[in-house]
C-alpha cells in the first residue's frame, strides 16, 4: 500500500458537477474487452462473483435434480454407481466451495467500500486476483468432471478411498489441485476484507458503528485465514501421497484419520464462513423493513465473533463414530452444545426487531422472516447431532443431509435471495419485480421444505447417505418421492429469481439512490454508484448516518455532501483501526492485467503439475513471477517519493 502523508491542504468542499467530472476522468477505466479484463473496480468484481456463484449454483442444482430422479424409487438404474458418486461429489463441492462462500464474497466485495464510505477495497488488484483464481479453480475442477474424471469420493474426500490404490484415475488430482487454487482465492480475499475493514472506513465510523454485514464478513475472513491452510496442506499432502508415494494418509506409516482431522478443522469453521456474512445480510437488511435499528447491535456482534472462535473447537463432532476416546468425545460433544448459544442471541435479536418494529412485507422481508425459522430448524437439528450417542445413530444418514441443507439453503440461499431484492436496485438502478418476487419466495420456501423436511424422517428411518440406490420395503420410498418433487419445485423457484433478474434488469422500475429508506452509506450515492463511489469522503457521526434525521439521538450529524474530494489522482482516505480517524491518503492502482495474468499462470502451473509436465510447470512458475513483478513494479503514480520531494 502506497501511503502519502497528507501535508497538502485538504479543504472540506461541496461536491459539485466539476468535481464529479474530474473524479470520473480519474477513476473510469478503458472501455471494451481490455477494460473489462483489466478493471480493478470492486463493484465489477462483486457482480462477477455473484454471477459466477449463481452459475455454479445452477450446475450444482442440476446435478442434484439428476440424483433426485435416480432416488425417486428403489433399485432405479438411471445412473451407474460411478456416475452417481461423481454427481454427489460434484454437487457437494460445487455448492459448498464454488457457490456458498463466493456468493457472499460477491455481496461483500460489492458492498464493503460502499458500506464503509470508501472508494474501493484496500487492495483492488488483489481483489481482482482473488476473483479470477476463484473462477479458474472452479473451471479446473469442472474440466476434470467434463473429461469423465470428476472427484468421486465426496467433498470430504476421505483417504484411503481417495488414495492411488483405490482411485487410480486423475479424478482426485483435479480436486486436490483445484482446491489448492481455490484456497489461494479465499485467502487473498479474506486478507483484503480484514485490511479494508480495519483501515478503509470513512472518518468517524468507529469500529462500533460499522454495519453487521462487515462484522460477519471480517469474522468469516479471520476464520478463512486460520482454517484454509489446514485444508490446502491436506490436499497438497494427498497429492504427494498419490503422485510420489509419500505416506501421510495411507495405512502404512501414515494415518487415514489425520486427513479427517485436517479436513474438519477446516470444514467446520467453513460452515460459519458460509453463514456469518449471510446472517450479517439479515442483521443489516431486516431492520430496514422493520423501520427501526437492529435490537442489540453489540451483543449480535459479540455473538458473531464468539461463534467463529468456538467454531474452531468443535470439529471432532464430525468424527464421533471414528472411535475416538471417551474424554475427547465428552469435550467436543459439550462444546457443540455451547456453540448454539450465540446463535440464539441472533435469532432473538431478529425476532425482537420484528416485534418492536413496523414490518413492511416486501419480498426481501419475506425471505428474511423465512430465514429466521429455517435458521432455527437447521440449528436445532445441529444440536441433535451434538449429542454424541444420538449422533452416532444420526451421522451418515439422511438426517444429516437434511440438516446441512437447512443450514446451507436456509441460512445462506434465503439470505442471499433476500439480499438480492435489497441490493439489486443498488447494483443495476432498477427494482426487482415484487409480484414475481412473491411467487419466487413462496415457490422457493415451499419447495425447499417439501424437499428437505421429510428428509429428516428419511434419516430417522435409517437411510444412509451416499448410496446410489436402495431396496424396497424399508419405508424409504414414499419420502424419497416427496423429496424429489420438492427438489423440482425448489428448482422452479430459483428459475423464477433468474427470470425476475433478467426481466427487471431491463424493464424494472427505476430505483433512485435509496428505494427502501435505508440507514447506511451505500444508499447515499446513486444507483448504480459512480466508479469512485462517493464524490466527497463522507464523515460519519453515528451507526445509521441516513436515519439521523428521524432517530435524532444526538446532536451530531454525519456529513455526506461536504468533505474531502481527493481529486489529485486516484486516491482514497485511510483511517485508524478503532476510531476511524483520518490517517493517510492511499494512492490507488490503475487498471491492470497483472492479476488476471498471475491467476492464469497459477492455474496453468496447476494443470502442468497434474500432467507431470515439469518443463511446463517451470515455465508457468516463471510466468507467475513475471506477472507478480509487473504487478508490484514501483509506479510513479502510486508513489509518495516525488510528493515528498516537493516538501
Amino acid at each position: 500500500m502506497a501511503v502519502a502523508d497528507s501535508d497538502r491542504s485538504l479543504e472540506l468542499q461541496q461536491s459539485g458537477a466539476p468535481a464529479r467530472e474530474r473524479l470520473a476522468r480519474i477513476w473510469e477505466g478503458e472501455a471494451g474487452l481490455r477494460g473489462w479484463l483489466s478493471t480493478v473496480d470492486h463493484k465489477e468484481y462483486g457482480k462477477r462473483y455473484i454471477a459466477t456463484a449463481f452459475i455454479f449454483l445452477i450446475l450444482g442444482g442440476l446435478e442434484a435434480l439428476v440424483m433426485r430422479v435416480q432416488l425417486a424409487g428403489p433399485n432405479k438404474t438411471l445412473l451407474t454407481p460411478e456416475q452417481y458418486n461423481q454427481l454427489f461429489s460434484m454437487h457437494g463441492l460445487t455448492m459448498i466451495f464454488l457457490y456458498a462462500q463466493p456468493v457472499l464474497s460477491g455481496f461483500s466485495v460489492y458492498l464493503f467500500p460502499l458500506l464503509l464510505g470508501a472508494r474501493d477495497m484496500a487492495f483492488p488488484r488483489l481483489n481482482a486476483f482473488s476473483y479470477w483464481i476463484y473462477l479458474f479453480s472452479g473451471l479446473f475442477i469442472y474440466a476434470g468432471f467434463v473429461l469423465g474424471y470428476g472427484p468421486n469420493d465426496g467433498w470430504f474426500n476421505y483417504p484411503p478411498y481417495a488414495s492411488m490404490r483405490y482411485n487410480p484415475g486423475p479424478n482426485m488430482d483435479f480436486y486436490a489441485i483445484g482446491m489448492i487454487l481455490f484456497g489461494v482465492s479465499s485467502t487473498a480475499g479474506a486478507a483484503n476484507f480484514v485490511v479494508t475493514f480495519l483501515r478503509a472506513r470513512a472518518p468517524g465510523m468507529s469500529i462500533n458503528r460499522v454495519p453487521i454485514l462487515t462484522w460477519g464478513t471480517v469474522t468469516a475472513s479471520f476464520g478463512i485465514l486460520f482454517s484454509v491452510p489446514a485444508v490446502s496442506l491436506a490436499f497438497f499432502l494427498l497429492w504427494t501421497d498419490r503422485q510420489f508415494g509419500t505416506d501421510f494418509f495411507n495405512s502404512g506409516q501414515g494415518q487415514p484419520l489425520l486427513w479427517q482431522h485436517l479436513f474438519w478443522i477446516f470444514a467446520h469453521p467453513w460452515v460459519y464462513v458460509v453463514v456469518l456474512p449471510a446472517m450479517g445480510i439479515v442483521s443489516d437488511a431486516l431492520p430496514i423493513f422493520c423501520r427501526r435499528p437492529l435490537v442489540g447491535y453489540t451483543v449480535v456482534v459479540l455473538a458473531t465473533v464468539a461463534t467463529m472462535v468456538m467454531g474452531f473447537g468443535v470439529w471432532l463432532h464430525h468424527m464421533f463414530a471414528t472411535g475416538i476416546p471417551y474424554l475427547a468425545l465428552s469435550f467436543f460433544s459439550a462444546a457443540s452444545f455451547v456453540i448454539t448459544i450465540p446463535s440464539a442471541v441472533a435469532v432473538f435479536a431478529w425476532i425482537a426487531t420484528i416485534w418492536t418494529g413496523r414490518p413492511v412485507l416486501s419480498t426481501a422481508f419475506l425471505f428474511f422472516a423465512g430465514f429466521i425459522v429455517m435458521f432455527t430448524l437447521g440449528g436445532v437439528s445441529g444440536v441433535m447431532t451434538a449429542a454424541a450417542p444420538a449422533d452416532q445413530q444420526l451421522t451418515d444418514t439422511y438426517f444429516v443431509v437434511a440438516h446441512i441443507h437447512y443450514v446451507l439453503i436456509g441460512i445462506n440461499v434465503l439470505a442471499v435471495m433476500g439480499g438480492l431484492y435489497v441490493w439489486f436496485p443498488k447494483m443495476t438502478g432498477r427494482l426487482l419485480d415484487e409480484r414475481l418476487g412473491r411467487w419466487n419466495f413462496w415457490t422457493v420456501f415451499l419447495g425447499f421444505n417439501i424437499a428437505f423436511l421429510p428428509m429428516h424422517w428419511t434419516g430417522l428411518a435409517g437411510m444412509p447417505r451416499r448410496i446410489y440406490t436402495y431396496p424396497e420395503g424399508l419405508g424409504w420410498t414414499a419420502v424419497n418421492v416427496v423429496t424429489t418433487i420438492g427438489a423440482f419445485i425448489l428448482a422452479a423457484g430459483v428459475l423464477l429469481l433468474l427470470v425476475n433478474m433478467y426481466v427487471s434488469r431491463r424493464h424494472g422500475a427505476a430505483a433512485g439512490p435509496d428505494p427502501w429508506g435505508g440507514p447506511t452509506l451505500e444508499w447515499a450515492t446513486t444507483s448504480p454508484p459512480p466508479t469512485y463511489n462517493f464524490a466527497v469522503i463522507p464523515a460519519v457521526a453515528s451507526r445509521h448516518p441516513l436515519w439521523e434525521g428521524s432517530l435524532d439521538e444526538s446532536g451530531e450529524r454525519s456529513s455526506l455532501q461536504r468533505g474531502m474530494i481527493l481529486d489529485d489522482g486516484k486516491e482514497m482516505l485511510t483511517t485508524t483501526a478503532l476510531d476511524a480517524e483520518p490517517d493517510a491518503i492511499q494512492k490507488m492502482p490503475p487498471d491492470t492485467l497483472a492479476p488476471l495474468l498471475a491467476a492464469l499462470a497459477a492455474t496453468a502451473l496447476g494443470a502442468a503439475a497434474l500432467l507431470h509436465a515439469w518443463i511446463g510447470a517451470t515455465i508457468f512458475t516463471l510466468l507467475l513471477f513475471a506477472a507478480l513483478l509487473v504487478w508490484l513494479w514501483p509506479q510513479r503514480a502510486m508513489g509518495q517519493i516525488s510528493e515528498q520531494a516537493h516538501v
Binding site: 413496523r358 422481508f365 437439528s381 444412509p464
Partner: protein
Amino acid sequence: MPTPADPAMNYLEAFGEKAEAISLLTWALLILSIAVVAIIALLTAAGVTMRRTSLAAEDAKREPVLRPSGGLSWITVGVALSTLALFASMAWNAYTMAAVNRPPRAPALTIEVIGHQWWWQFRYKSDDPAQTFETANEAHIPIGAPVRLEVRTQDVIHSFWIPALGEKIDLIPSQTNVTWFEAEKPGVYRGQCAEYCGQQHAHMAIAVVAETPEAFQAWRVAQLHPAEAQQGGLIEGEALFQARCSACHTVRGTLAGGKLGPDLTHVASRLGIAANTLQNTTATLSGWIADPQRIKPGNKMPTLDLQASELGAIRRYVQSLK
C-alpha cells in the same frame, strides 16, 4: 429360524439396552427441537402479522423510522431459556454417554468384524483355536447378553451399523475400534455400511440374527463343522467350484481356500447373498453366479461366462453347503 422382529432400519424403536438409552435421548432431543421450532415459527409469524404495516414494498420509506425500547429483554429472556434447555440436554447427554460406554455385564462373546469392499467378514473369537470360525454378512448372537465387537478394515473406511441395536462405529485402516451391543428379543436386525466406501457402498448390508442361547449354541456348533464330503450329483459341482471359485472363496474341509471373498462353508444357511443385496433363493443365486457385475456393478467378483450346465452344477453345490 426366529421370526424377523422388524427388518426396518428405523432407530427410534430399539431392541437392546444400549440402543434404548440412545433412542430415548434421541426422542427427547427430537421433541425439544420440534417444540423450539414451533415456538420460533409462531413468534415470527405472530410478530409479522400483528406488527405489519399496510405499505407496499416500494413505499417502505414512508413508514417513519423509530427506536422503541424494550427489544433487549427479548434477547435476555430468549437466550436464558435457550441456555437452560441446552444445559439440560447436555446433562442428559453426559448421562447417556456414560451409560452406553461400557457393557453392564461381561460380554458373552467377541466377534471380530472386518470390512471389505463390499462385504462383511465376521470372525468368532475364542481362546481355543478349534472354537474359532468365520462367516460373512450374517452374524448370529445370543439374546440377553452383551456382545463385544472388534472392528477393523481390510481396505478403505467402512462403518458398522445395526440401527436397532445401537450406534455405528467406523472401521478405520491401521486401527481396531471396539464397541458392544446387545439384543433383547429374537429377530433379524438389518444393518448397512454407513461410511461411503466406493461404488457399491449402497449394497453392503448386514443381517444380525439374534436367537435364544440354545439356538445360538446349536448354530455355533453347526458353523464349526467343515463341509461334508460330496457324493453323487454334486461331485461335478464341487470340482467346478474348486476350478472356478476357490481362488477367492473358502469352503472349509475342501481344497477351496481363497481368502479374497466371503467364506462359503455354510452359505446355504444364510438368509441373503451378495452382502444381503438379494434373498437367498435358487433364482437369485443362479442370477448372482451367472452375472454378479449386473447386480452389483463394480464389485470384485468377476463374471465368469459359465455355460448353463456349469452354472447349474455350481449352484446346486453351493446350495448344498448348509
